[in-house]
Protein backbone atom coordinates (compact mmCIF):
# COMPACT_ATOMS: atom_id res chain seq x y z
CA UNK A 1 0.00 0.00 0.00
CA UNK A 2 2.72 2.45 0.83
CA UNK A 3 4.28 2.28 -2.63
CA UNK A 4 0.88 2.96 -4.21
CA UNK A 5 0.53 5.97 -1.90
CA UNK A 6 3.98 7.25 -2.85
CA UNK A 7 3.12 6.87 -6.52
CA UNK A 8 -0.04 8.93 -6.10
CA UNK A 9 1.07 11.46 -3.53
CA UNK A 10 1.04 14.46 -5.85
CA UNK A 11 -2.47 13.52 -6.92
CA UNK A 12 -3.52 13.19 -3.28
CA UNK A 13 -1.73 16.34 -2.06
CA UNK A 14 -2.58 18.67 -4.95
CA UNK A 15 -5.62 17.02 -6.55
CA UNK A 16 -3.81 16.57 -9.83
CA UNK A 17 -5.91 15.19 -12.66
CA UNK A 18 -5.68 15.66 -16.40
CA UNK A 19 -6.37 18.21 -19.08
CA UNK A 20 -6.78 17.32 -22.73
CA UNK A 21 -4.57 19.66 -24.73
CA UNK A 22 -6.79 19.23 -27.77
CA UNK A 23 -10.20 20.16 -26.39
CA UNK A 24 -9.39 21.47 -22.88
CA UNK A 25 -11.64 18.91 -21.20
CA UNK A 26 -10.51 18.22 -17.63
CA UNK A 27 -10.79 15.06 -15.60
CA UNK A 28 -10.12 13.73 -12.16
CA UNK A 29 -8.77 11.13 -11.68
CA UNK A 30 -6.38 11.45 -14.62
CA UNK A 31 -7.20 9.79 -17.93
CA UNK A 32 -4.93 8.33 -20.64
CA UNK A 33 -7.21 9.23 -23.54
CA UNK A 34 -9.62 12.14 -23.53
CA UNK A 35 -13.08 10.78 -22.94
CA UNK A 36 -14.60 13.65 -24.91
CA UNK A 37 -12.45 13.84 -28.06
CA UNK A 38 -10.26 10.70 -27.78
CA UNK A 39 -7.05 12.68 -28.09
CA UNK A 40 -3.98 11.20 -26.42
CA UNK A 41 -2.40 14.62 -25.97
CA UNK A 42 -2.95 14.77 -22.20
CA UNK A 43 -1.17 16.75 -19.48
CA UNK A 44 -1.34 16.73 -15.70
CA UNK A 45 -3.43 19.53 -14.26
CA UNK A 46 -4.13 20.66 -10.73
CA UNK A 47 -7.88 20.75 -10.10
CA UNK A 48 -9.48 23.81 -8.49
CA UNK A 49 -9.74 23.47 -4.73
CA UNK A 50 -13.21 24.97 -4.49
CA UNK A 51 -16.60 23.64 -5.43
CA UNK A 52 -20.17 22.94 -4.41
CA UNK A 53 -21.79 19.93 -2.78
CA UNK A 54 -24.17 18.12 -5.13
CA UNK A 55 -24.81 15.18 -2.81
CA UNK A 56 -23.74 14.03 0.63
CA UNK A 57 -24.16 11.27 3.19
CA UNK A 58 -23.16 10.56 6.77
CA UNK A 59 -21.89 7.02 7.18
CA UNK A 60 -22.00 5.01 10.37
CA UNK A 61 -19.87 2.18 9.00
CA UNK A 62 -16.23 2.34 7.98
CA UNK A 63 -13.48 0.75 5.98
CA UNK A 64 -10.72 -0.93 8.03
CA UNK A 65 -8.62 1.68 9.82
CA UNK A 66 -11.26 4.39 9.78
CA UNK A 67 -13.27 3.19 12.77
CA UNK A 68 -12.34 6.13 14.98
CA UNK A 69 -13.56 8.67 12.43
CA UNK A 70 -17.22 7.69 12.59
CA UNK A 71 -19.69 9.09 11.89
CA UNK A 72 -18.04 10.06 8.62
CA UNK A 73 -19.47 12.73 6.35
CA UNK A 74 -18.87 12.14 2.66
CA UNK A 75 -19.66 14.52 -0.14
CA UNK A 76 -20.01 14.45 -3.90
CA UNK A 77 -18.50 17.76 -4.98
CA UNK A 78 -18.70 19.57 -8.29
CA UNK A 79 -15.43 21.50 -8.48
CA UNK A 80 -15.32 24.93 -10.09
CA UNK A 81 -14.14 23.35 -13.36
CA UNK A 82 -17.23 21.06 -13.44
CA UNK A 83 -15.27 17.96 -12.52
CA UNK A 84 -16.95 15.79 -9.86
CA UNK A 85 -15.03 14.31 -6.95
CA UNK A 86 -16.01 12.24 -3.92
CA UNK A 87 -14.29 13.02 -0.62
CA UNK A 88 -14.76 13.16 3.14
CA UNK A 89 -16.28 16.36 4.50
CA UNK A 90 -14.63 17.49 7.75
CA UNK A 91 -14.82 20.31 10.29
CA UNK A 92 -18.33 21.21 9.13
CA UNK A 93 -21.53 21.47 11.13
CA UNK A 94 -24.08 18.84 10.03
CA UNK A 95 -26.68 21.47 9.22
CA UNK A 96 -24.23 23.17 6.85
CA UNK A 97 -23.61 19.96 4.91
CA UNK A 98 -26.32 20.33 2.30
CA UNK A 99 -26.78 20.43 -1.44
CA UNK A 100 -25.40 23.67 -2.83
CA UNK A 101 -22.99 24.29 0.07
CA UNK A 102 -19.66 25.86 -0.90
CA UNK A 103 -16.71 23.65 -0.06
CA UNK A 104 -12.95 24.03 -0.09
CA UNK A 105 -10.23 21.39 -0.20
CA UNK A 106 -8.11 20.81 2.91
CA UNK A 107 -4.97 18.75 3.49
CA UNK A 108 -5.57 16.09 6.10
CA UNK A 109 -4.46 12.70 7.38
CA UNK A 110 -6.30 9.93 5.60
CA UNK A 111 -4.96 6.96 7.51
CA UNK A 112 -2.10 5.98 9.76
CA UNK A 113 -0.80 2.45 9.41
CA UNK A 114 -0.99 1.71 13.12
CA UNK A 115 1.50 3.25 15.53
CA UNK A 116 4.61 2.24 13.67
CA UNK A 117 3.63 2.33 9.97
CA UNK A 118 3.48 5.28 7.64
CA UNK A 119 0.97 8.10 7.72
CA UNK A 120 -1.03 8.73 4.57
CA UNK A 121 -2.16 12.27 3.74
CA UNK A 122 -4.55 13.54 1.12
CA UNK A 123 -7.48 15.78 0.27
CA UNK A 124 -10.72 16.22 2.13
CA UNK A 125 -13.18 19.10 1.93
CA UNK A 126 -14.88 21.42 4.37
CA UNK A 127 -17.87 23.70 4.09
CA UNK A 128 -17.02 27.41 3.86
CA UNK A 129 -18.83 30.74 3.60
CA UNK A 130 -21.82 29.73 5.65
CA UNK A 131 -22.22 33.18 7.14
CA UNK A 132 -24.07 35.81 5.15
Amino acid sequence: MSVSYWRNRDRYFRIIGSICNSCNHESFPNFYTCNKCNSEDISDKEMPNNGKLISYTVSSESMPGFEKELPMSIGLIKLNNNVNIVAQIVDSDLEDIKIGANVKAVFRKILADGDSGQIYYGYKFKVVNTKK
Partner: protein, 343 residues
Protein backbone atom coordinates in the same frame (compact mmCIF):
# COMPACT_ATOMS: atom_id res chain seq x y z
CA UNK B 1 22.38 40.17 14.12
CA UNK B 2 21.59 41.91 10.86
CA UNK B 3 21.73 40.36 7.42
CA UNK B 4 23.98 42.03 4.86
CA UNK B 5 21.20 42.24 2.30
CA UNK B 6 17.77 43.20 3.63
CA UNK B 7 15.31 40.41 4.32
CA UNK B 8 11.56 40.91 4.29
CA UNK B 9 8.38 39.07 5.07
CA UNK B 10 6.40 38.78 1.82
CA UNK B 11 3.63 36.52 3.02
CA UNK B 12 2.28 34.99 6.18
CA UNK B 13 -0.42 32.64 7.36
CA UNK B 14 -1.89 31.40 10.59
CA UNK B 15 -3.92 28.27 11.27
CA UNK B 16 -5.81 27.34 14.40
CA UNK B 17 -7.84 24.10 14.51
CA UNK B 18 -11.57 24.56 14.85
CA UNK B 19 -12.05 22.59 18.04
CA UNK B 20 -11.85 24.17 21.50
CA UNK B 21 -11.65 22.48 24.89
CA UNK B 22 -12.81 24.81 27.66
CA UNK B 23 -10.32 24.57 30.51
CA UNK B 24 -13.29 24.40 32.87
CA UNK B 25 -13.88 20.88 31.49
CA UNK B 26 -10.33 19.87 32.38
CA UNK B 27 -10.59 21.44 35.82
CA UNK B 28 -13.95 19.78 36.49
CA UNK B 29 -12.38 16.36 36.03
CA UNK B 30 -9.07 16.92 37.73
CA UNK B 31 -9.85 19.56 40.37
CA UNK B 32 -13.57 19.24 40.85
CA UNK B 33 -14.26 22.70 39.46
CA UNK B 34 -12.76 26.03 38.46
CA UNK B 35 -10.76 26.46 35.26
CA UNK B 36 -7.23 26.88 33.95
CA UNK B 37 -5.31 30.12 33.55
CA UNK B 38 -6.63 30.34 29.97
CA UNK B 39 -10.27 30.07 29.01
CA UNK B 40 -9.90 27.42 26.34
CA UNK B 41 -7.33 25.71 24.20
CA UNK B 42 -7.33 24.72 20.55
CA UNK B 43 -7.37 20.99 19.81
CA UNK B 44 -6.33 19.34 16.57
CA UNK B 45 -9.04 17.17 15.05
CA UNK B 46 -8.51 13.45 14.62
CA UNK B 47 -7.22 13.86 11.08
CA UNK B 48 -4.99 16.87 11.80
CA UNK B 49 -1.38 16.88 12.87
CA UNK B 50 1.68 19.08 12.62
CA UNK B 51 2.09 18.22 8.95
CA UNK B 52 -1.48 18.98 7.88
CA UNK B 53 -1.46 22.33 9.67
CA UNK B 54 1.98 23.15 8.24
CA UNK B 55 0.75 22.52 4.69
CA UNK B 56 -2.38 24.65 5.14
CA UNK B 57 -0.52 27.59 6.62
CA UNK B 58 2.39 27.39 4.14
CA UNK B 59 -0.15 27.50 1.31
CA UNK B 60 -1.78 30.58 2.83
CA UNK B 61 1.56 32.34 3.24
CA UNK B 62 2.53 31.57 -0.36
CA UNK B 63 -0.87 32.71 -1.55
CA UNK B 64 -0.13 36.09 0.00
CA UNK B 65 3.46 36.36 -1.20
CA UNK B 66 2.66 35.11 -4.66
CA UNK B 67 4.75 32.53 -6.55
CA UNK B 68 8.46 32.81 -5.85
CA UNK B 69 11.51 30.58 -5.92
CA UNK B 70 11.66 28.89 -2.54
CA UNK B 71 15.10 27.70 -1.43
CA UNK B 72 14.37 26.64 2.15
CA UNK B 73 11.42 25.11 3.99
CA UNK B 74 12.05 24.74 7.71
CA UNK B 75 9.39 23.46 10.08
CA UNK B 76 9.93 24.21 13.74
CA UNK B 77 8.00 21.76 15.95
CA UNK B 78 8.19 19.52 18.96
CA UNK B 79 5.29 17.32 17.89
CA UNK B 80 6.65 15.77 14.76
CA UNK B 81 4.38 12.98 13.52
CA UNK B 82 7.54 10.97 12.78
CA UNK B 83 10.48 10.89 15.17
CA UNK B 84 12.56 10.20 12.07
CA UNK B 85 11.25 11.50 8.72
CA UNK B 86 11.00 15.21 8.14
CA UNK B 87 7.68 17.03 8.07
CA UNK B 88 9.29 19.67 5.87
CA UNK B 89 9.64 17.34 2.87
CA UNK B 90 5.94 16.53 3.02
CA UNK B 91 5.25 20.27 3.07
CA UNK B 92 7.62 20.71 0.12
CA UNK B 93 5.89 17.92 -1.85
CA UNK B 94 2.48 19.40 -1.11
CA UNK B 95 3.72 22.74 -2.44
CA UNK B 96 5.30 21.13 -5.49
CA UNK B 97 8.78 22.33 -4.47
CA UNK B 98 11.84 20.09 -4.78
CA UNK B 99 14.98 22.17 -5.36
CA UNK B 100 15.12 23.40 -1.80
CA UNK B 101 16.66 22.95 1.62
CA UNK B 102 14.21 21.23 3.94
CA UNK B 103 14.54 20.35 7.57
CA UNK B 104 12.64 20.11 10.83
CA UNK B 105 13.91 22.23 13.71
CA UNK B 106 13.55 21.30 17.36
CA UNK B 107 13.92 23.79 20.18
CA UNK B 108 10.71 23.52 22.14
CA UNK B 109 8.62 26.65 21.62
CA UNK B 110 11.28 28.62 19.81
CA UNK B 111 11.83 26.26 16.90
CA UNK B 112 9.67 28.43 14.63
CA UNK B 113 11.60 31.61 15.30
CA UNK B 114 14.86 29.66 14.99
CA UNK B 115 13.70 28.77 11.47
CA UNK B 116 13.07 32.45 10.78
CA UNK B 117 16.60 33.30 11.96
CA UNK B 118 18.28 30.70 9.78
CA UNK B 119 16.28 31.56 6.67
CA UNK B 120 17.06 35.23 7.20
CA UNK B 121 20.74 34.25 7.19
CA UNK B 122 20.43 32.13 4.06
CA UNK B 123 18.68 34.92 2.19
CA UNK B 124 20.99 37.56 3.58
CA UNK B 125 24.01 35.59 2.36
CA UNK B 126 22.60 35.42 -1.13
CA UNK B 127 22.41 31.66 -1.14
CA UNK B 128 18.64 31.68 -1.63
CA UNK B 129 16.05 34.31 -2.54
CA UNK B 130 13.02 33.10 -0.60
CA UNK B 131 12.26 30.66 2.19
CA UNK B 132 9.34 29.53 4.32
CA UNK B 133 9.71 29.41 8.11
CA UNK B 134 7.04 27.58 10.04
CA UNK B 135 6.22 27.13 13.71
CA UNK B 136 3.69 24.31 14.17
CA UNK B 137 2.63 22.14 17.07
CA UNK B 138 -0.08 19.82 18.38
CA UNK B 139 1.12 20.18 21.94
CA UNK B 140 0.32 17.50 24.50
CA UNK B 141 0.10 17.83 28.24
CA UNK B 142 0.04 14.88 30.60
CA UNK B 143 -3.54 14.26 31.75
CA UNK B 144 -4.07 15.99 35.07
CA UNK B 145 -0.87 18.02 34.80
CA UNK B 146 -0.92 21.81 34.79
CA UNK B 147 0.38 21.88 31.24
CA UNK B 148 -2.77 20.17 30.09
CA UNK B 149 -4.71 23.41 30.44
CA UNK B 150 -2.55 25.32 28.01
CA UNK B 151 -0.98 22.78 25.60
CA UNK B 152 -2.71 23.67 22.35
CA UNK B 153 -2.41 23.28 18.57
CA UNK B 154 -1.75 25.82 15.84
CA UNK B 155 0.56 26.77 12.98
CA UNK B 156 2.15 29.93 11.62
CA UNK B 157 4.18 30.42 8.47
CA UNK B 158 6.22 33.25 7.02
CA UNK B 159 7.59 33.62 3.53
CA UNK B 160 10.86 35.49 3.83
CA UNK B 161 12.43 37.13 0.81
CA UNK B 162 15.07 39.43 -0.56
CA UNK B 163 12.49 40.97 -2.90
CA UNK B 164 12.05 44.56 -1.85
CA UNK B 165 9.31 45.30 -4.41
CA UNK B 166 6.29 45.36 -2.13
CA UNK B 167 7.05 43.50 1.09
CA UNK B 168 4.81 43.16 4.13
CA UNK B 169 7.56 43.86 6.68
CA UNK B 170 11.33 44.01 7.08
CA UNK B 171 13.41 41.94 9.48
CA UNK B 172 15.43 44.79 10.91
CA UNK B 173 17.48 43.01 13.52
CA UNK B 174 17.53 39.87 15.63
CA UNK B 175 19.29 38.34 18.60
CA UNK B 176 19.42 34.92 20.16
CA UNK B 177 20.34 33.85 23.67
CA UNK B 178 20.72 30.28 24.94
CA UNK B 179 21.83 28.39 28.03
CA UNK B 180 21.56 24.80 29.09
CA UNK B 181 18.50 25.09 31.30
CA UNK B 182 16.33 22.00 31.55
CA UNK B 183 13.06 23.58 32.67
CA UNK B 184 10.90 21.34 30.44
CA UNK B 185 11.89 18.24 28.51
CA UNK B 186 10.73 14.98 26.98
CA UNK B 187 12.81 11.85 26.67
CA UNK B 188 12.76 9.90 23.34
CA UNK B 189 10.19 7.23 24.10
CA UNK B 190 7.96 9.25 26.42
CA UNK B 191 4.57 10.50 25.27
CA UNK B 192 4.35 13.55 27.49
CA UNK B 193 6.84 16.21 28.55
CA UNK B 194 7.89 16.88 32.10
CA UNK B 195 8.68 20.20 33.67
CA UNK B 196 10.00 21.76 36.84
CA UNK B 197 6.92 23.82 37.81
CA UNK B 198 7.92 27.22 39.16
CA UNK B 199 11.46 26.80 37.90
CA UNK B 200 10.10 27.42 34.41
CA UNK B 201 9.59 31.05 35.49
CA UNK B 202 12.61 33.09 36.57
CA UNK B 203 15.59 30.91 35.58
CA UNK B 204 13.95 29.87 32.34
CA UNK B 205 11.34 32.08 30.70
CA UNK B 206 12.18 35.42 32.25
CA UNK B 207 15.95 35.11 32.17
CA UNK B 208 16.12 34.16 28.51
CA UNK B 209 13.43 36.49 27.16
CA UNK B 210 14.81 39.39 29.09
CA UNK B 211 18.32 38.57 27.91
CA UNK B 212 17.51 38.40 24.20
CA UNK B 213 15.31 41.49 24.26
CA UNK B 214 17.72 43.54 26.35
CA UNK B 215 20.53 42.69 23.97
CA UNK B 216 18.39 43.64 20.97
CA UNK B 217 17.39 46.97 22.46
CA UNK B 218 20.96 47.72 23.44
CA UNK B 219 22.49 46.87 20.06
CA UNK B 220 19.88 48.75 18.09
CA UNK B 221 19.59 51.69 20.46
CA UNK B 222 15.81 51.23 20.38
CA UNK B 223 13.50 51.87 23.33
CA UNK B 224 10.27 50.03 24.09
CA UNK B 225 8.47 53.21 23.07
CA UNK B 226 9.93 52.86 19.56
CA UNK B 227 7.77 49.79 19.12
CA UNK B 228 4.07 49.93 18.31
CA UNK B 229 3.55 46.29 19.24
CA UNK B 230 5.34 43.56 21.18
CA UNK B 231 4.77 39.84 21.10
CA UNK B 232 6.21 37.54 23.73
CA UNK B 233 6.00 33.78 23.94
CA UNK B 234 2.86 32.80 25.84
CA UNK B 235 3.08 29.63 27.94
CA UNK B 236 0.21 31.05 29.97
CA UNK B 237 -1.67 34.39 30.00
CA UNK B 238 0.42 35.88 32.82
CA UNK B 239 4.09 35.48 31.80
CA UNK B 240 3.94 37.67 28.68
CA UNK B 241 2.18 40.42 30.63
CA UNK B 242 4.79 40.25 33.38
CA UNK B 243 7.82 40.19 31.10
CA UNK B 244 6.38 43.04 29.05
CA UNK B 245 6.07 45.13 32.15
CA UNK B 246 9.59 44.32 33.29
CA UNK B 247 11.04 45.27 29.93
CA UNK B 248 9.02 48.48 29.74
CA UNK B 249 6.32 47.47 27.27
CA UNK B 250 2.67 48.34 27.85
CA UNK B 251 -0.44 46.18 27.84
CA UNK B 252 -1.69 48.06 24.74
CA UNK B 253 1.44 46.99 22.87
CA UNK B 254 1.03 43.31 23.65
CA UNK B 255 -2.75 43.06 23.37
CA UNK B 256 -3.13 42.18 19.65
CA UNK B 257 -0.59 39.38 19.90
CA UNK B 258 -1.86 37.88 23.15
CA UNK B 259 -3.72 34.72 22.15
CA UNK B 260 -3.09 32.32 25.05
CA UNK B 261 -6.31 33.21 26.88
CA UNK B 262 -8.44 31.86 24.02
CA UNK B 263 -6.35 29.20 22.33
CA UNK B 264 -3.75 28.20 24.91
CA UNK B 265 -0.08 27.65 24.09
CA UNK B 266 0.59 26.08 20.69
CA UNK B 267 4.30 25.88 21.49
CA UNK B 268 6.36 26.55 18.34
CA UNK B 269 3.44 28.46 16.88
CA UNK B 270 2.86 30.55 19.99
CA UNK B 271 4.82 33.76 19.43
CA UNK B 272 4.79 33.40 15.61
CA UNK B 273 1.00 33.29 15.70
CA UNK B 274 1.07 36.40 17.88
CA UNK B 275 3.03 38.03 15.07
CA UNK B 276 0.41 36.89 12.54
CA UNK B 277 -2.34 38.34 14.66
CA UNK B 278 -0.46 41.61 15.03
CA UNK B 279 0.39 41.91 11.34
CA UNK B 280 -3.34 41.53 10.61
CA UNK B 281 -3.96 44.92 12.23
CA UNK B 282 -0.62 46.67 11.82
CA UNK B 283 0.00 49.73 9.62
CA UNK B 284 2.98 50.71 7.48
CA UNK B 285 5.71 52.15 9.66
CA UNK B 286 4.76 50.19 12.79
CA UNK B 287 7.68 48.54 14.52
CA UNK B 288 7.05 45.16 16.13
CA UNK B 289 9.07 43.29 18.75
CA UNK B 290 8.86 39.52 18.59
CA UNK B 291 10.43 37.49 21.42
CA UNK B 292 10.09 33.74 21.60
CA UNK B 293 11.14 31.36 24.34
CA UNK B 294 12.03 27.72 23.99
CA UNK B 295 12.69 25.44 26.92
CA UNK B 296 16.13 23.90 27.05
CA UNK B 297 16.48 26.99 26.86
CA UNK B 298 16.68 30.01 24.65
CA UNK B 299 15.00 33.09 23.25
CA UNK B 300 15.02 34.76 19.83
CA UNK B 301 14.19 38.46 19.66
CA UNK B 302 13.37 40.35 16.46
CA UNK B 303 12.71 43.91 15.50
CA UNK B 304 10.33 43.94 12.57
CA UNK B 305 9.33 47.04 10.63
CA UNK B 306 6.00 46.99 8.82
CA UNK B 307 6.12 48.15 5.17
CA UNK B 308 3.55 49.44 2.69
CA UNK B 309 2.87 45.96 1.39
CA UNK B 310 0.83 45.29 4.53
CA UNK B 311 -2.00 47.12 2.79
CA UNK B 312 -2.03 44.55 -0.06
CA UNK B 313 -2.50 41.24 1.68
CA UNK B 314 -4.68 39.98 -1.14
CA UNK B 315 -8.35 39.06 -1.15
CA UNK B 316 -7.68 35.44 -0.17
CA UNK B 317 -6.33 36.37 3.24
CA UNK B 318 -8.61 35.50 6.12
CA UNK B 319 -7.76 37.40 9.30
CA UNK B 320 -6.61 35.16 12.15
CA UNK B 321 -9.37 36.52 14.36
CA UNK B 322 -11.99 35.14 11.93
CA UNK B 323 -10.26 31.76 11.94
CA UNK B 324 -10.08 31.73 15.74
CA UNK B 325 -13.67 32.86 16.16
CA UNK B 326 -15.02 30.03 13.98
CA UNK B 327 -14.67 27.39 16.66
CA UNK B 328 -16.66 24.54 18.13
CA UNK B 329 -16.45 23.40 21.74
CA UNK B 330 -15.75 19.79 22.60
CA UNK B 331 -15.79 18.02 25.94
CA UNK B 332 -13.01 16.20 27.76
CA UNK B 333 -14.27 12.78 26.62
CA UNK B 334 -14.04 13.79 22.98
CA UNK B 335 -10.63 15.32 23.66
CA UNK B 336 -9.29 12.04 25.00
CA UNK B 337 -10.49 10.27 21.87
CA UNK B 338 -8.79 12.80 19.62
CA UNK B 339 -5.55 12.89 21.58
CA UNK B 340 -2.90 10.36 20.63
CA UNK B 341 -4.96 8.73 17.92
CA UNK B 342 -3.58 8.36 14.31
CA UNK B 343 -0.21 9.36 15.70
Amino acid sequence: MKSSTPVYISGYGGYVPRLRLPTADIAKLWKGGGSGPNKAKSVANIDEDTTTMAVETARDALSMSGPCEIGAIFVGTESKPYAVKPTSTIVAQALGIHRTLASDFEFACKAGTEAMQVITGLIGSGMISNGIALGVDTAQGRPGDNLEYTAGSAAAAFVLTNDHANPIAKIEYSTSYVTDTGDFWRRQTESFPRHLSRFTGEPAYFHHVQSSVTQLLSETNLQPSDFKYAIFHQPNPKFPIQVAKRLGFTSEQIEPGLLNPIIGNPYSASSPLGLVSTLDIADPGDRILLASFGSGAGSDAFSILVEDGILNKGENHIPLSDIINDNREIDYATYTKLRGILK
